[in-house]
Assembly symmetry: C2
Homo-oligomer: 192 residues x 2
Amino acid sequence: MKRSEDTATMILDAAQHLAQTQGYNAFSYADIASEVGIRTASIHYHFPGKGDLGYSLVARYRQIFLQSLTEIDQTTNKAAQKLKKYIDLYHWSLLEDRMCLCGMLASDIATLPEKVRDQVKIFFDVNVAWLATILKDGRKADEFIYRGTAEAQARLMLASIQGAMLVARALRNTGQFQKVTKDLFNSIKKAK
Amino acid sequence: MKRSEDTATMILDAAQHLAQTQGYNAFSYADIASEVGIRTASIHYHFPGKGDLGYSLVARYRQIFLQSLTEIDQTTNKAAQKLKKYIDLYHWSLLEDRMCLCGMLASDIATLPEKVRDQVKIFFDVNVAWLATILKDGRKADEFIYRGTAEAQARLMLASIQGAMLVARALRNTGQFQKVTKDLFNSIKKAK
DNA sequence: GTCTATAGGTGGATAGAC
DNA sequence: GTCTATCCACCTATAGAC
């Protein structure tokens, strides 16, 4: 019940938490209202329908995620370090028992409004594009070694990370995620 | 509206289809009733609560999946061939726009009854155990090459395959799944 | 075993007072 | 902007006739 921030933000925070832990179809306006400490009618004032809420949710998530990627790009030049920090982004989320928001929405994809679906798609495309750049740079710098195109490897890594989160949460075993992503990292890391 | 089979089976078939395409929280007894051509009360006769239905659903899925694995073991001795057929199991599912039932339930894990959760966990454990055996045999037979333990590699492959389904469905691109799993296969296949 | 009828609860959503 | 009050559709579930 944080009362210091503006309501729209508090609603989005609560909705995101619920969406990441339970899924799009498992939370209600009542759940959000209860977490924020307001009434459901107030939510409708800020987000007329659940579709609007979902759209704003993913749009904000994408934007913040993109900022994180930019920060990673600025803090180091080593591709291997960048990749580790990228994996950490997801790891931190998992430590709070949160799935990636878009990984979660991906499972609900058939029931999402078109505009929300598009946002999820864009999120994955951005991830693949960023990863492909890192992988390409890393191979050029002799840090990574892998067969095929950088984009193909990027798609494999995105799928593996999302799947690792999904399975680790089901097994209630965060360590599983760390092991899998470490092995994934090692599979392309060039031995010194 | 198949009337030839027994009702319980028809209910499970419809529920499984809905669960794999929409998720556990996105389908109702009314949806099943409509697909089967009966009333919701009839479903409650066979499966008193949704938890009972969910449990029976995963238990049957596990059993049928295990049969498929046994069949694979019987049709070939080549580890590489077995692995390909294993991936095909998931691929066929995806061609009908179906996620793996347990991958889908994994995303809904926080909202599932305890007994359903346990079934999902067992499904993943069975997958890892079977994959680990194949990977071990394949390495011994000089078909596969990978670092680390067979079990670690098995966990990576399960996560990658589940994630590949998740992302491919979100992007509405089945070809993506084929590419990713092919690259995954090639990453451990020993060149002749 | 399947039906009709219905209960009690919750879903997203709106009108209008403050 | 937030509230109370309310709407209707849908949810899971049960009782009892057939």
